[in-house]
């Protein structure tokens, strides 16, 4: 990830309508278990929004509902005012990374991206641009199955950036990245948001989130607990981590003793 310049052409584009992402009254049950319950929030353009919650809080389910992969039982999720499936050019609107392993391990990184670019009507030249952008050019022709975890994350990110989108949705993108990679990602996402785009990023790394996000959404057991600017939750000696544990009551008993 040598390149610091953002290979997007967002400057000069029409400003994004607000909200970029809207989740309204979403409930999703798997059997008897409600993974998400009457969840609602909005993600604005121009800022990085962190998406926090303990394991099993419903973060991944929510992101998948926004991306049209999981159908909610109730409620709706829209990106730029439309359900994902109705977006006329989804890849040019939204880029998403959900899992590290979401490619055929026998296909080279470059061919994986070319498959996706072809499906979206994007030129192959764009594939080489995003490979360069995430610093994978040197390994582009190697089988993706041989990539390290960090390289897989970069490949996923390259796929998300293919269509030069206005909205990025990233599930644990820092996972497996080395310190330089994390720093590059942080700078990239902040620059991307500063250009008027929207970023929704989930992470377990609360200290990282405190540096990255302008605003956070905290959910627990499928419900919204808090949406607030980071500086409101973490100030003075109180860290985002402190706030997170208070909000999600991860260890209430221990705190009482």
């Amino acid at each position: 990830m040598q390149t610091r310049t953002i290979g997007t052409a967002t400057e000069g584009r029409a400003p994004l309508g607000s909200p970029a992402i809207a989740v309204r009254g979403v409930t999703k049950r798997f059997g008897d278990v409600a993974a998400v319950e009457d969840l609602g929030f909005e993600v604005r353009p121009g800022v990085v929004t962190g998406f926090l919650g303990p394991n099993g809080a419903g973060k991944s389910t929510t992101l998948r509902i926004v991306l049209g992969l999981v159908h909610p039982d109730e409620g709706s999720a829209t990106v730029l005012g439309l359900p994902y499936a109705s977006l006329p050019e989804p890849t040019r609107t939204v880029g998403a990374v959900l899992e590290t392993q979401s490619f055929n391990p026998l296909r080279s990184g470059r061919n994986h991206l070319r498959v996706l670019a072809t499906a979206s009507g994007l030129p192959s030249a764009r594939v080489d641009e995003v490979l360069e952008l995430v610093g994978l050019s040197g390994a582009a022709r190697r089988r993706a199955g041989k990539y390290s975890l960090g390289m897989r994350q970069r490949l996923g990110l390259a796929g998300a950036l293919l269509g030069d989108p206005r909205v990025l949705i990233l599930d644990e993108p820092a996972n497996g990245l080395d310190p330089q990679g994390i720093r590059w990602l942080r700078d990239f996402l902040r620059g991307f948001a500063a250009d008027g785009n929207a970023v929704l990023v989930s992470s377990h790394l609360l200290s990282e989130m405190a540096q990255l996000a302008d605003e956070v959404i905290v959910i627990n057991r499928g419900r919204l607990v808090k949406q607030a600017p980071v500086h409101e939750l973490a100030n003075g000696s109180r860290t985002l981590e402190d706030a997170f544990f208070e909000l999600t009551e991860e260890f209430p008993e221990e705190g009482a003793r």
Partner: protein, 246 residues
């Protein structure tokens, strides 16, 4: 849709899997054709025209098994590796993804059929010539056999796509289809004799003209097998529309 089809063809050509499967088919066909021609009882057939040569029977039956597996893998590979997620993010209309896979797999199945049939003809003809046989053929009859194999292979590829989408698990889909052919279809045929020839395996055999007794006419069999392919695609597509991709 054009972009999705191009993407699916790129998927098929950008790993070695489809090539290995094709190479396996060609190898099996070459080996079997050579053994049939080399077998002793062949001496009686040595001067028969190519289209009546028994070494063509095996490729006619085995090719559709390979294209069915190719079809099954089209979706099950994506579920197995999770690449279904970026696929659906790029093309959220799931029916369109299904349609593109049907087209791409059918096209690849045509290649499989042509390679298998060509390999059998070439190996068999060489074998006959080596044994001093008088090579003769009716170009029309040979072309018709090849054409029928192409049609049956493409339809079986399409059936595989639908089954793979409905079942999602690769091994389960492949084993299930073998069980269908070997057990369910013959059991159904024995229980309800009238329907036997309308079942997919029998219809496929009728198209390529193997065991032609008691089977449908080839033209009608194409319609019947196309019906099965459509059914598989509709069932797979309907399940996919409703399903969550986790």
């Amino acid at each position: 849709m054009k972009d999705q089809i191009a993407s699916e063809i790129r998927k098929l050509t950008s790993t070695r899997s489809a090539y290995w499967l094709l190479a396996g088919l060609a190898l099996v066909v070459a080996f079997t054709s050579a053994s049939v021609v080399g077998a002793d009882q062949m001496t009686t057939n040595i001067d028969a025209p190519l289209e009546h040569q028994p070494f063509l029977v095996f490729p006619l039956t085995v090719t559709t098994v390979f294209t069915m597996i190719l079809g099954i893998r089209s979706f099950t590979d994506e579920f197995r590796h999770g690449s279904i997620v970026p696929t659906l993010l790029a093309s959220p209309d799931r029916r369109r993804v299904l349609g593109a896979k049907l087209v791409a797999v059918s096209a690849a199945s045509v290649v499989y059929a042509v390679v298998a049939f060509g390999t059998a003809l070439a190996v068999g003809a060489i074998g006959l010539a080596v044994q001093g046989g008088e090579l003769s053929w009716s170009a029309g009859a040979v072309a018709a056999m090849g054409g029928n194999l192409v049609v049956a292979s493409a339809l079986w590829g399409a059936i595989g796509v639908g089954v793979g989408l409905a079942v999602r698990h690769q091994l389960a889909a492949i084993v299930g289809m073998f069980l269908w052919s070997l057990v369910v279809e013959s059991a159904l045929g024995a229980l309800v004799p009238g329907v036997a020839r309308y079942l997919p395996d029998a219809a496929g055999s009728a198209i390529v003209g193997v065991d032609a007794a008691n089977l449908l006419t080839p033209g009608f069999a194409v319609a019947v097998l196309a019906g099965w392919a459509a059914l598989a695609a509709v069932v797979g597509g309907q399940l996919m529309q409703r399903r969550d991709v986790a």
